[in-house]
């Protein structure tokens, strides 16, 4: 439980601070919603994080939430807090564009299980958020709805594909947002926008009613301000769903109860391969400083060799490409001009990969995961890396549509996040500093399968001793 609030701008409260304050009667859901709407009105013209803002429906829902509390009705863990979702979570009867021209008018007939669970927990749905077209870029470009802009510095990338999710939480337009993560699409916008993002273990959260990209690697998770927010959010949305047979039957823990601040004896491994290739000094410095914070709380840190990363990165490069290519084949044949240039270009490469290599990548996934766990978690509890190796790039320097020569800079953005999708491990990205241009830097912490509680405990301990996650973008 959070302490009583004292905020002049209610929109600056974290999701759990706001929910707890509403539950105690210190603030109303309506007042909180109006504070968020005022910020959206003032700043989203520049940031472009929303695709559809359901202003009046949200007002009605907030009023009903306040009435329910006044009547003494039982309150859900997210009662009255404004949230929004990447525009690829289906709500029956509402357009879900998937950030695309092709599905600009698509109206689903089902509602995503995660949206139903958020509704049941009392969250107020504020609308749909900008995203990479079909969740297929790591930068935040969108040719159809306009690029999403980083609230810390507008010409810079938000990260993608959950661009609007990262930007809207950073700008304090909403207290939490749903993102999805197939190669880093939660963790990258979290890192680049200076918020907290959690990719849960593969199969932890239902994907029913969620636009598919890659059935092997798609994940559902939150972008929020704090590890505590992520813990509460995950408990609401996690758990087996009969509508998604791939969702795990693993019991859902009380993740928030695990946030004790005690990380004495926690053993953290830092892989020496891959994650630091071509890294910027300012990023490495912030990463090392973050490790010192964790060590000061009693964690130990050791540099290790992880030979299996070579297989992880090679096989990981195949899965989503092939699966994405298959899903989009009909439109790539019939409507190729309706995709943005970078997306059709990326999808095209997927058709070149031989089927036997795709099957090999799938079949080796289990053995490679076991090998990685032996190497990385045999003597350690967590793996730490920077979320992005470099300083945050600009939208211009990663724009393939403007110049194909930007291809390598574009692809490099997700280099540190992709491996954990092949491995299926739970990973959080938390803010750990700012670069020399005032853009956020992220720390990535990964754990064993279903070790979300331990991952979040470390993230929360870090946030008790730092204030990077509290800083507000200078939107004016």
């Amino acid at each position: 439980m959070n302490a009583p609030v004292d905020a002049t701008d209610l929109a600056t409260l974290s999701m759990t601070e706001a929910a707890d304050a509403i539950a105690r009667g210190e603030i109303t859901a309506s007042a909180l919603l109006e504070a968020c709407l005022a910020r959206i009105e003032a700043h989203d013209g520049k940031v472009n994080s929303f695709i559809r803002l359901d202003r009046e429906e949200a007002r009605e829902a907030a009023a009903a939430a306040d009435k329910a509390r006044a009547a003494g009705k039982p309150l859900g863990p997210l009662h009255g807090v404004p949230v929004a979702h990447k525009d690829m979570y289906y709500r029956a009867g509402k357009v879900s564009t998937c950030g695309s021209k092709i599905r600009r008018d698509f109206v689903p007939t089902v509602t995503a299980t995660v949206l139903e669970r958020l509704d049941a927990a009392g969250a107020i749905d504020l609308g749909t958020l900008n995203m990479a077209e079909f969740a297929q870029n790591p930068t935040g470009h969108n040719a159809h709805f306009g690029d999403c802009h980083n609230p810390w510095n507008l010409p810079y990338c938000t990260g993608g594909s959950s661009s609007g999710s990262g930007a809207s939480v950073a700008a304090r337009f909403v207290t939490a947002a749903l993102g999805s993560d197939t190669g880093g699409s939660i963790r990258l916008p979290a890192s680049l926008c200076g918020v907290t993002g959690l990719k849960p273990t593969q199969t932890r959260v239902s994907r029913f009613g969620v636009m598919p990209l890659s059935f092997s690697a798609d994940n559902v998770g939150p972008l929020v301000r704090t590890a505590r927010d992520a813990a509460r959010f995950l408990r609401v949305v996690a758990g087996h769903d009969p509508k998604d047979p791939t969702s795990a039957r693993e019991p859902v823990a009380d993740y928030e109860a695990a946030l004790t601040g005690d990380i004495r004896g926690l053993r953290i491994a830092v892989p020496q391969q891959w994650f630091f290739d071509g890294a910027d000094t300012v990023v490495v410095d912030a990463f090392e400083a973050a490790l010192e914070v964790l060590k000061a709380r009693g964690a130990t840190v050791e540099r290790i060799s992880v030979p299996s990363l070579r297989a992880v990165t090679a096989y990981g490069a195949l899965l989503s490409r092939v699966e994405g290519a298959a899903i989009h084949a009909n439109w790539m044949r019939g409507r190729p001009g309706d995709y943005s240039i970078h997306l059709s270009a990326r999808l095209f490469g997927g058709y070149a990969i031989p089927g036997h290599l795709y099957v090999e990548a799938l079949s080796r996934r289990g053995p490679v995961l076991r090998q990685f766990c032996t190497e990385a978690f045999g003597r350690f509890d967590l793996v730490a890396t920077p979320t992005l190796r470099t300083r945050v790039p600009t939208l211009a320097e990663t724009d393939i549509d403007a110049d194909p020569q930007n291809w390598s800079r574009f692809m490099a953005v997700s280099a540190n996040t992709r491996p954990f999708n092949y491995l299926g491990l739970p990973v959080v990205s938390i803010p750990c500093g700012f670069d020399d241009r005032g853009l956020p830097i992220g720390l990535q912490l990964a754990g064993r399968p279903f070790a979300e509680a331990r991952v979040l405990r470390a993230a929360d301990a870090f946030q008790r001793d730092t204030d990077w996650h509290r800083r507000l973008p200078p939107l004016g």
Binding site: Y315, A345, G366
Partner: protein
């Protein structure tokens, strides 16, 4: 300089998938393949006859945290 892999790959995709090369960026993307091919070459021989995709879910369970 474009890799000599590009044009034959474009033709193979057209034949097998019926998808045309959409733009110059797609050609550029195919030029990105040789390093990936080299990495996959290095992994040849690691697939065991009995390996199968369902081993991943089993590994997630087997490798999960014992004392959260």
């Amino acid at each position: 300089m474009e890799s000599d892999l590009v044009q034959p790959t474009i033709e193979r995709i057209r034949r097998w998938s019926g998808v045309e090369c959409p733009n110059a960026a797609a050609r550029h993307g195919l030029s990105d393949f040789p390093p990936l091919l080299a990495e996959l070459e290095a992994l040849r021989g690691t697939l065991v006859f009995e390996d199968e995709p369902s081993s991943f879910e089993a590994a997630l369970q087997a490798e999960k945290e014992k004392t959260p």
